[in-house]
Chain length 349, copies 2
């Protein structure tokens, strides 16, 4: 069972997914007991395909065996939203509105290796993961009940990871989520006033300022934004503006994989393998071709704990200025690989 | 040094308080090394008054000694905002706006006892803490540079507590924080349409529904709201609507202390001393006497970890329906104390 309820005090929806917990008070056990399984019993390791829900997609050589995949997509065993729920609204009196938790919740197993991190994968493997995310985004946006696709990755216990084998997730929602709606409204208003994409103007201003640029190549710029919400928050912005991540061409996916690897390696090395969340913010339904928005990738290291001030105010307290974060990260020399080293310049300019 | 930077993509401010970290990458050490000190070296224990910044206020008997306090307020040793910063705005080009981190950050030590929890304190002590919070709220709102006062308490490591000795905090901000602004806007629009306070109508609807009422007395109702964002989220709402917590009369503070104790005892007992954050959401400057808003108290247990979906979407996934939370908590019988037991009815109706 899955549903959404509308919070009238904040004008947004909350997702309820009670089956993720075993019993009402077992929230600490969510989502599953196989959380830190060893490879023999890990549902995401090759050979254990029978332990997952049905496969949705996989990257396999022609005529490969079932276990011959290099990237594999399955339904989440404990889905937050389900394709069979009814998205029509139901009112109990004037104050209580709900809807069925209609959506999709998929897991993208990013490699065959149980412990290797994304930053340790070859660029071609990272590219293959990004292409798989694109394919699932495109497929799910074909269902007109879904308004938005949230693409994310959790790394480490404090970032909410429950299964160690590296993976991404993708949740299709029947409403445009609050943060994306807010960002699209702000970008729309900016476009109304100036005729320009806010993210493009921000990128130009960051390049001109220079002090918060972490790395760049021909197609992308990685930076710690001026108003970072958490220490070492890092964004990757495309030089060629496109509202939807789904529109990025194959050649530019390779280039994104290169820069993403460099950025993750820098964070990994400088901060000693920090826990982090990664999201790809892409336009919601109807905005995929709009000029006012640019998709972007955000990495949010989990170095501090939001506490009462953050929950009470909705504001963030950040203890590290992004200029200081970039200066610190810039002391770390990394290269994506032999071939890519000369294509990726780190630092401003 | 403390400052705020404006995030153009989300239309809100981020607080920067770099001195809270020792070095840029030492975010894990924030805020201090004396975090889990024993009573002998705990800065909040009686006799150790010299270990804190200067005292702002204390509840003491007449002619009491320096260490004879029962509630004590001091400046935070690692303040997020500082009274000496300049709140005027500074622009670097069109994209980058900042302001000095003008504000206040105080710590309210809630009792002399190093390990006793708030729910284990006598009602008179809880009442004394609430009266102290009110007094500090009123005093800080006298400084017209402060727009809002965030009142909160963190309990447990996963809720961001760094010093074990039980305490509250209070942060005065030079802007109205995002969440409070959002709640006030939604409540204003509701008032425009209906002429009624949204929180009062919600309270009536919850009382009529009955299934999410946790406890109540003559002056307050404790409930797990219809659209709770986290498992076992609990609100206390006043029956007599007032926009500012500062306007609550002394008699009603005692009544609030009674119900707060009952609610905290229930959560403590049923969930085995869960980590939690507690906030008191009170009207910002200019709205203290408005009819559209009602102050309210929120308790947010930290039973689950917000992960990539929450950070990417701004939405919450909650694994426990509030009706189930109330049913589970209602199995726990607690009484505030001998005298108050007959004044507090638990459950709906």
């Amino acid at each position: 069972m899955s549903l959404l309820r509308f919070d009238r005090t904040t004008n947004d929806w909350v997702v309820y997914s009670p089956s993720r917990a075993l019993r009402p008070h077992d929230t600490r056990l969510v989502p599953s007991a196989d959380g830190h399984a060893e490879p023999a019993t890990c549902p995401f390791c090759p050979g254990n395909e029978a332990l997952t829900p049905p496969e949705i997609f996989a990257v396999r050589p022609p005529r490969g065996l079932r276990s011959d995949w290099s990237v594999r997509v399955v339904s989440n065993k404990f889905p937050a939203l389900r394709i069979e729920e009814d998205p029509s609204r139901r009112d109990e009196g004037a104050m209580f509105r709900s809807m069925g938790g209609c959506g999709a919740h998929e897991v993208i197993v990013e490699s065959r290796e149980h412990t290797a991190l994304l930053c340790q994968q070859p660029i071609s493997q990272i590219e293959s993961v990004l292409a798989t995310l694109q394919r699932r985004l495109s497929d799910l946006m074909g269902d007109r009940r879904f308004q938005s696709i949230i693409i994310f990755k959790n790394h480490g216990a404090s970032a909410g990871t429950s299964i160690r084998h590296p993976h991404w997730q993708l949740i299709a929602t029947p409403v445009t989520p609050r943060l994306l709606r807010l960002k699209q409204i702000e970008a729309t208003e900016y476009f109304d006033q100036t005729g320009k994409c806010l993210y493009c103007v921000l990128l130009e201003a960051e390049l001109a300022a220079g002090r918060r640029i972490l790395a760049q190549n021909d197609d992308y710029v990685a930076l710690c934004p001026y108003a970072s919400h958490v220490p070492f928050e890092t964004w990757i912005l495309p030089r060629l503006r496109q509202a939807s991540f789904g529109h990025v061409s194959g050649e530019r996916l390779k280039s994104l994989a290169e820069l993403l690897k460099v950025v993750l390696l820098k964070l990994h090395t400088a901060l000693d393998n920090p826990d982090f969340n990664l999201t790809i913010d892409t336009a919601s339904r109807g905005a995929e071709d709009e000029e006012y928005f640019a998709w972007h990738l955000r990495i949010l290291p989990r170095l501090s704990t939001p506490a009462g001030f953050e929950l009470g105010s909705g504001m963030s307290i950040n203890t590290v200025l992004p200029e200081d974060a970039v200066a610190f990260l810039s002391e770390v020399a990394v290269t994506a690989n032999h071939g890519a080293a000369n294509q990726v310049a780190t630092g401003g300019g």
